[in-house]
Amino acid sequence: MGSDTLIDANWLDYLLVAIYFGFVLGIGVMARRSVSDSIDFFLSGRSLPAWVTGLAFISANLGAVEIMGMSANGAEIGLPTVHYFWVGAVPAMLFLGVVMMPFYYGSKVRSVPEFMLRRFGTGAHLVNAISFAVAQLLIAGVNLALLAGIVSALLGWPIWIALIVAGVIVLSYITLGGLSAAIYNEVLQFFVIVAALAPLTLIGLNRVGGWDGLTDKITAAADGAPVDAGVPPAEQQLESWPGQALAGFDSELLSVIGIVFGLGFVLSFGYWTTNFVEVQRAMASNSISAARRTPIIGAFPKMFVPFIVIVPGMISAVLVAEMVELKNGGTPSGGAAGDVTYNDALLLLMRDVLPNGLLGLAIAGLLAAFMAGMAANISAFNTVFSYDLWQRYIRKDHDDDYYLRVGRLATVAATVIAIFTAQIALGYDNVMNYLQTLFGFFNAPLFATFILGMFWKRMTPTAGWVGLVFGTLSAVAVDRLAAAGVFELPGQGVAFLAASTAFVVDIVLSVLVTLVTKPKPASELKGLVWSETPREDLVDPDEAAMPWYQRTIPLAGVALAMVIVLNVAF
C-alpha cells in the first residue's frame, strides 16, 4: 500500500498529527468542563494580550486560501503573488484598524447581516443573509476539497471517498468540541504552520542552491518553456511590479491599475473589512483601542507570510518533476485529485524534500488549517441560517432548544452540501482563481454597499438591496462571459475585473435608486452612519497616555512603512 500513495507517511508522522489533535480536543474538553478559571479567561476573550488576538486574527485566515492558494499561485506566476499580501491584505488590515474598527466597536454590530438589518431594514438583510450563507457553503467546499486532497495523498484513496471521509472528519471535529477552544486553537495552529513551512522553505532553498539558484532555475525554465504553455517570462515571475502575470493585462499601466484597484481596493478591502469571522476576533477586546490594534498587530506577521507560502510554490515549480512538466504544458498524472494541478505544488514539494518526522508536522499543520477553516465556514453558515434566516423569516418565537436543534441539522446539512460544492472547486487547477472569483461575487458588492451606507446618510433601504443584488449579478455576468470565451484574461484578471464591475455597478445603482426613494430618518442611524455617530464614541480617551508602540496610528504608520519597503525591495 505504501508505494501507491502520493505521500509516504509512517508511524512517526501519524504520531505528530495525533499529538496535535490531542492538544486541541483536550483543551476543548477542559473548556467545557470548566476545569480552570484560566481557560475561561482566555476563551471569554476580554483583556487578552494584543499579540494573542492579533495572531488569532491572522490565523483565522491562514487556511486554505493562504497556504494552498498562494503556493499554487507562486508556482504558476511567481513573485507577483506577493501583491495579495503587500497591496492587498496588509493595507486593508491597517484600514480596518484605523478607520473601520472604531465604528464597528462603537456601534456594537456583531455580524454583517445585523448591520444590514439595522442600516437598511429587511430587504438588504434577506439578500445579504442568503448570499452570505451561499458563500460559506461554496468556500467550505474549497476547504473540504483541499482536506480531501491531503487524505487522498496520504492514503491513496479515490477523491470521492476522500471527500466523504474528510466531511466525516470535520463533522466529528465540530461534534467533539473542536471549536470550543477557539483562541488556543488559532494561536497553536499559527505556530504549527510556521514550524512546518519555514523548514520546508529553507530546505527547498537549500536544494535549489539558495535564492540565486532559484532565480537562475526559474529564468532557465521560463526561457526553455514551449511558447504554447503560456509561461510568463522570467522577469515577470521574479519582480512583483508591474505584475502582468497576475493581473492578466499586457499593458504595464493597466496591470498596475488592475492590481491596485481590483485586488488592493475592492477585493482586499472588501474581504478584510466585511469579513466578520475575523472582525469578531478584534471585537472581543476590552477597549476600542485594543480592538483597533488587533488587525494592526496582525499585519506585522502577515507581511512575512508570503516568504513561507509563495517561495515554496516557486521552488516546487522548478524542483518537482511533475510541476516542471505541468508548467511546460504537460498533463502529468498522480496529483491529489487525479491529474497534477498547481494546487498540488506544496504537497509535492513536501513529498520531495521533507524527511519523515517533519513531514508529519507539515501534515498536522495543513490538516489543522483546512479543518478549522471549514469548521469556521460551517459555523458561520449555521448562525446565519438558524438565526438570520430560519428564526426571522420562517419560524419565529420558538424556544432556544428549537433553534439549537435547527443549528445542529444545519451543520450536518452544510457538510453534506459542501461535498458537492467541493466538486466545483476540484474543477479549478489553481484554487486561487476560484476563491478570488467567489470573493468578487460576494464581498465586492457588500463592501460597496457597506462603505456607501456608512458614509452617506441619505442612502435608502431600497438602494441597499438593489445594489447588492445587481452588484452580485454583474460580477456573475462578467465571470460567465469570460467562461464563454467572449474575452480572455489570464491569471486572476477575470476575478479582478468581476470584482471591480460589481463594485462600480453597486455604487452607481445605489446612488441612482437613492435619488428616487425615501431615506430613513436620521434618528435611526446613530451608530450606523459616520456623520450621525458622536465622535467620542469612536476614540479611546486613554490612548493618548500610552507609549507610542501601544497607540493605533504610530503602529499603523510603522507597518505601512515596512510594507512599502517590501514593495520596493521585491
Binding site: R32, D37, R46, N206, L354, G357
Partner: protein, 106 residues
Amino acid sequence: MSSDTTAGQSGTSARKAGAFDVRNIIGALMGVYGVILVLAGLLGEHEPEKTGGVNANLWTGLALLAVAAVFFGWARWRPIVVPADPDRPDDDPTRPAPRRKRPPAH
C-alpha cells in the same frame, strides 16, 4: 506552575494563569514536537537525498525547543493575571459544540 488550582479553590484574589496560559500551551506543544524531532534526527534515517544533506529533523527539533524555552520563559517572567472572577465565555452560537454545563446566556 500548577499552583493555580489550589489558589482557585479559595477564589478570593487575582492569580496567575499558570499551566493554561496560552504561552505555556504553545511552549508545551512546541517542546513535545522538538523532543520528538530531535530524537528522530538522532536515531532515525537521515534521508539526506531529500534535504540536500542537512539533518532537517534535528535542526528543526532544536529550533522548536528554543521556541518552547522562549515561551515558557516569557510566561514565567511576565505572568498573565487572571481576575478573581473572570467572565465565563458564552456558548457561542457561531461555534457549534457540545454544550457547557450550564444554560447559555441567550
